[in-house]
Amino acid sequence: MKLYCLSGHPTLPCNVLKFKSTTIMLDCGLDMTSTLNFLPLPLVQSPRLSNLPGWSLKDGNAFLDKTELIDLSTVDVILISNYHCMMALPYITEHTGFTGTVYATEPTVQIGRLLMEELVNFIERVPKAQSASLWKNKDIQRLLPSPLKDAVEVSTWRRCYTMQEVNSALSKIQLVGYSQKIELFGAVQVTPLSSGYALGSSNWIIQSHYEKVSYVSGSSLLTTHPQPMDQASLKNSDVLVLTGLTQIPTANPDGMVGEFCSNLALTVRNGGNVLVPCYPSGVIYDLLECLYQYIDSAGLSSVPLYFISPVANSSLEFSQIFAEWLCHNKQSKVYLPEPPFPHAELIQTNKLKHYPSIHGDFSNDFRQPCVVFTGHPSLRFGDVVHFMELWGKSSLNTVIFTEPDFSYLEALAPYQPLAMKCIYCPIDTRLNFIQVSKLLKEVQPLHVVCPEQYTQPPPAQSHRMDLMIDCQPPAMSYRRAEVLALPFKRRYEKIEIMPELADSLVPMEIKPGISLATVSAVLHTKDNKHLLQPPPRPAQPTSGKKRKRVSDDVPDCKVLKPLLSGSIPVEQFVQTLEKEAETLIQIEEDSTHIICDNDEMLRVRLRDLVLKFLQKF
């Protein structure tokens, strides 16, 4: 059993598991931090950005791709755990010869599609006049300023995929539901479990009859909107692959939400605007719910909330229709009937308005001060670029970072010098180390495998020994481009017996409850299923040609049942030997005599056997 680790990013994992002749890819997250090396793509001509000297606006959006550690065309299936972890799907399904199936839950696919659609839209609506790739040449890259010259494997950076590729990739997905058992080639069974992190997010169990591997990715024990995490089903795993823990282990999401609200209120009260760079789904639902309660109490009911994204409308509507994937509280609202999320009411009362982009209706409705939620959190593309340019010069305005995926200082770099206030309130509801340690104590896997980042304290806080995974035996760690042999051997295989063969067996009870029988059969193996069939009938023996001895004793011998266990029926055995080999064996209290008339070799052999047994006593 092997694990190929294609991503070094612990929250955007991509691992391939080879297990019982199947090749299973676990997630295909897309690490977009390399976009931070590029200049922002402005929606309207930005004199400031286009007049920058040097390498401006020449190459656009390229993303880190996988190393060629494994031939991706051999991947049989891809299991997706949440919508953030499928963003690289088109790169894998469209250009590698992949012919397998992708499994994911419905909300994962729908919201994943929205995220991809938004990404493609953001990139495609600002086509670049020119493109450059010569700089990727190592000799030239060496001469570039830092951090670009230090970027690794720039040659593997790819351009953003197209909507066509997205659609083609998504067509290969088969929808699954929580706890549904899916057979893969008869060899293994995979099952998605609720992971509590996002709408439709799942952990996966990959098991054969005798082995169980759990894949935990992006899970949460907090009570937010998704269905709670299913922990019990992770018990008794041989191996637990653990990825997707919180990226900000020291920040408590509740405290951060408080910080978010306070700063928002302070800014708006002073007539400033608040910009929240965000993804179109996920934490934004919780933030809107929190603001729904907060704005009235803070006397901010008149401040408009704007949500700008090409997929804003779909995202807000999708969230309301996936009732079965929501936490109990929200599910029960559906029966009232009420929309599960209160953002419906915000929209109804005109407090929250959503637009596909800043162009069009938005410019007519736009009122300040206001709060704007828009993408992309990297501040490199999307409508957020426009607002950064628009509001960056005034110290009344505030940008509040809630997504933990990007370093906010790096994201802000091309906008400096900046007068607007910057608040960093990363909200990451995924498991922290205390929760992980409780989880591991609860489910008790034999082995834990995790990214190497989790086996040591974060570099900035090297003294925080509590910010790492602590389990026994110590977790096995992996890093990018490593192949790990998982530490357990398969010992058993399940084999079925045909009814008529089973019927012919004569079990002998060797102790109460345990019976044995010998079987002669043909093992038939197909599609990883093993079946014992009755042996073909022996061909009628041609009359006595090969028979050594014509003897009447043969039927007597057949009476003997094959000895499976227990003590030897001595008398019967001695009689048989006498008849078969003309041997006389006398057994007395303190001696055994073996007399073979003709066959000295047989005598010696029998004597040695007796002696051997004597030694055993």
């Binding site: 951060m256 302070l266 006397g299 925080r464 509590d466």
Partner: protein
């Protein structure tokens, strides 16, 4: 002791020493002990024992009875301690009691200068160990050891045959030696309370005190040692050898570590303000250690050893320890320390207030501690302004306070407002403070919180705004805020009239009372109108506390109109009666005009006792005050009381005269004289449960549990 109780006492003592009799629960015994304490405070213990020989019998008996409940045994020992607190009583007990009684066993030379009870109870009560559980105790204690007993102190020592009186029976050495041995034998969990008890004694050997203090400091010394890079300030680490058991406890588990630190911090907090605390008091080291504990909790401390690393992981985010450390840090503000320590403390407090991770309860403690530090910070001598440190601190504090006033969690908004109120109450006159406050948005935010959805927050906002307004800080002085400056009274009055919750309305009444007392501009401008408006609003209120506060306001107004109430202290310098600001008739007319009589008489018949009581006091004060002016009585013959008497039924029904203030002052006065206010006062003084609360009732209850009072047992069927 009243005769009824004295009569019941022998029977009760008999019940207590009889193991077959069920004894009422521990709380009864605690109440009984409390009662004995009040009795011994009132009369001589010796006389009490002489008059009630059953008590001596009880004390000498309890130790001989087998199978006595641990509660009763513990009670008896503590009762003995209470009596023995008086030296003559101690001697009386020594002579009278049987050889096995506690006092008999104590050599007379061991009579501590301080009452036995004070230290008995001090290390008895907190020393709650479960002796049956630990194997070391089993040999010593036998089966009938009370849960809280002196025996626990010596339990870890060498096993002996069961002694009759555990602590005092030690044959080798003195009492202090026994205690010292106990101190070195007990584990870190139980040492702390004992050490604290020892240190609270004023007279005990210096060596023992030193030992106890070291024991108490041990956990903090460990923490400091595990985190300091260079040798720290002298004091705390000196002479405290690494105690392996303390380190073990700190490292064993999160709960044991947090528990030990919390207890240690609480003990030190208790010790700090006491006059008999150890001297020199290691202020600097304690402050350093507390700051370190807080830094370990927020994850910013740098460990210097593996123990430190472990502590880092254990304490990170530990709210319990954080709260205890903040409490102690607040207490430490009372000590004098060098400037740099103040800086350090303020820095860690500011970080705590600023951190998004701080939980609401931690923030509350942080605000409290910050307030204590600010108010005790050294001021530049001869200068009315705050020290050099504070203005800078305030500049950093106010943005944090602003953020906290906007926090989605109401508890946080509430504590921030309370902090603001306290700070401006003390510093409202300081120029630096005024400057920093008015430059911030804090006043506007506080004003906004008058509309908060949470009633507690509204109440705190009312108090804060009232305080700010008293000092002219509720809005910037710039012209665009003129309206805001004026409308506060109306806004508060609106809250008083329409707010659905009691807390904000009570707060408004308190603010108005303060305003009237301090001559706030809104109240002073037209005082009569102000009082009339407020009383009218308060009289309609359904909340008794609002009405009671209305009477408080009325009393202030009375004082201002008729002169302050006379002080009742016989030693106070008798001030000459201040001549009233206006002739009596005028004053009374003013009282009638504002509807004060209406309000007070209605309150006199209020269904809530405290309101009626307060009104009764007010009217008595008024009557006495008027009696001192004899002129009025001379002037008139028999006043016409008809109008007032006609109003009486309406007052009883809780209705106001319509329109208010139409009474004739003379009629009201006559009414005042005709009412038996003294009688009413004594009736009201008795609480409805005064029978149930009496000691006699307690004794009867306890006897009833024992079945003693049931004369006819057969008639149940």
């Amino acid at each position: 002791m009243d005769p009824e109780c004295a009569q019941l006492l022998p029977a009760l003592c008999a019940v207590l020493v009889d193991p077959r009799q069920p004894v009422a629960d521990d709380t009864c015994l605690e109440k009984l002990l409390d009662w004995f304490k009040t009795v011994t405070e009132g009369e001589s213990s010796v006389v009490l024992l002489q008059e009630h020989p059953c008590l001596v019998e009880l004390l000498s008996h309890v130790l001989k009875v087998q199978d006595l409940s641990s509660g009763v045994l513990s009670f008896s020992l503590r009762l003995a301690g209470t009596f023995a607190a008086q030296e003559n009583c101690f001697q009386y007990l020594q002579v009278r009691s049987t050889p096995s009684s506690p006092c008999r066993e104590t050599p007379a030379c061991l009579w501590p200068r301080r009452p036995v009870s004070s230290w008995c109870t001090s290390w008895l009560c907190p020393c709650e160990v479960e002796p049956r559980g630990s194997p070391a105790c089993r040999g010593v204690t036998g089966p009938r050891v009370p849960r809280r007993s002196w025996i626990t102190l010596k339990s870890p020592c060498a096993p002996r045959p069961p002694p009759s009186s555990p602590v005092f029976s030690s044959s080798d050495g003195s009492l202090w030696e026994t205690v010292a041995r106990a101190l070195s034998c007990l584990g870190p969990t139980h040492m702390g309370p004992l050490a604290l008890g020892i240190l609270k004694l004023e007279h005990c050997p210096q060596a023992l005190r030193t030992q106890a203090f070291q024991v108490l400091l041990q956990p903090l010394a460990c923490v400091l040692k595990a985190t300091v890079q260079a040798p720290g300030p002298p004091g705390l680490l000196d002479g405290t050898a690494d105690d392996a058991t303390t380190v073990d406890t700190l490292l064993a588990s999160k709960s044991s570590c947090a528990g030990l630190l919390c207890r240690t911090l609480a003990h030190l907090e208790e010790l700090q303000p006491l006059p008999q605390r150890p001297s020199p008091w290691p202020q600097a080291s304690l402050l350093g250690a507390t700051v370190t504990v807080l830094r370990l909790c927020d994850g910013s401390a740098a460990p210097a050893s593996s123990v430190g690393g472990h502590l880092c992981g254990t304490l990170a985010g530990c709210v319990r320890v954080q709260r205890a450390a903040l409490d102690f840090l607040g207490t430490l503000s009372q000590g004098t320390g060098p400037q740099e320590l103040v800086t350090q403390a303020l820095a860690v407090l500011l970080e705590c207030l600023e951190s998004p991770g701080s939980s609401p309860t931690v923030l509350k403690k942080a605000f409290q501690a910050t307030l204590r530090w600010l108010l005790s910070s050294p001021k530049t001598p001869g200068c009315s302004d705050l020290g050099p440190l504070i203005p800078q601190f305030l500049r950093e504090l106010f943005p944090v306070l602003q953020k906290r006033l906007c926090h989605p969690c109401w508890e946080v908004r509430d504590s921030a407002l309370e902090f603001l109120t306290q700070l401006s109450r003390h510093w409202g006159g300081q120029a630096d403070f005024r400057c920093a406050l008015l430059a911030s948005e804090v006043p506007q935010l506080a004003l906004q919180l008058l509309q908060d959805p949470e009633s507690y927050v509204r109440a705190s906002a009312v108090t804060a705004m009232g305080q700010l307004s008293s000092q002219g800080l509720h809005a910037p002085t710039s012209p665009e805020h003129a309206e805001a400056r004026q409308s506060l009274f109306l806004e508060l009055l609106h809250i008083l009239s329409v707010d659905s919750e009691g807390f904000p309305r009570r707060a408004v009444m308190q603010v108005f009372t303060e305003w009237l007392r301090d001559g706030h501009a809104d109240a002073a401008q037209d005082t009569e109108q102000f009082v009339a408006t407020v009383l009218q609003a308060a009289s309609r209120d359904l909340d008794w506390e609002v009405r009671a506060q209305g009477l408080e306001l009325a009393l202030v107004f009375l004082g201002q109109t008729l002169g302050p109430p006379r002080t009742h202290c016989p030693y106070a310098v008798a001030l000459p009666e201040v001549a009233p600001a206006q002739p009596l008739t005028e004053a009374l007319r003013a009282l009638c005009h504002v509807g004060l009589f209406d309000f007070a008489f209605c309150a006199l018949f209020d269904c809530d006792r405290p309101v009626a009581q307060k009104s009764c006091d007010l009217l008595l004060f008024l009557r006495d005050k008027i009696a001192s002016y004899s002129s009025l009585r001379e002037a008139r013959g028999s006043p016409n009381t008809a109008s007032a008497e006609a109003t009486l039924p309406r007052w009883r029904a809780g209705e106001q005269a319509q329109p208010p203030g139409d009474q004739e002052p003379e009629a009201v006065l006559a009414m005042l004289r005709s009412l038996d206010l003294e009688g009413l006062r004594s009736t009201l003084a008795e609480s409805s449960d005064h029978v149930e609360k009496s000691p006699q009732s307690l004794l009867q209850d306890m006897l009833a549990t024992g079945g003693f009072l049931q004369g006819d047992e057969a008639d149940c069927y």
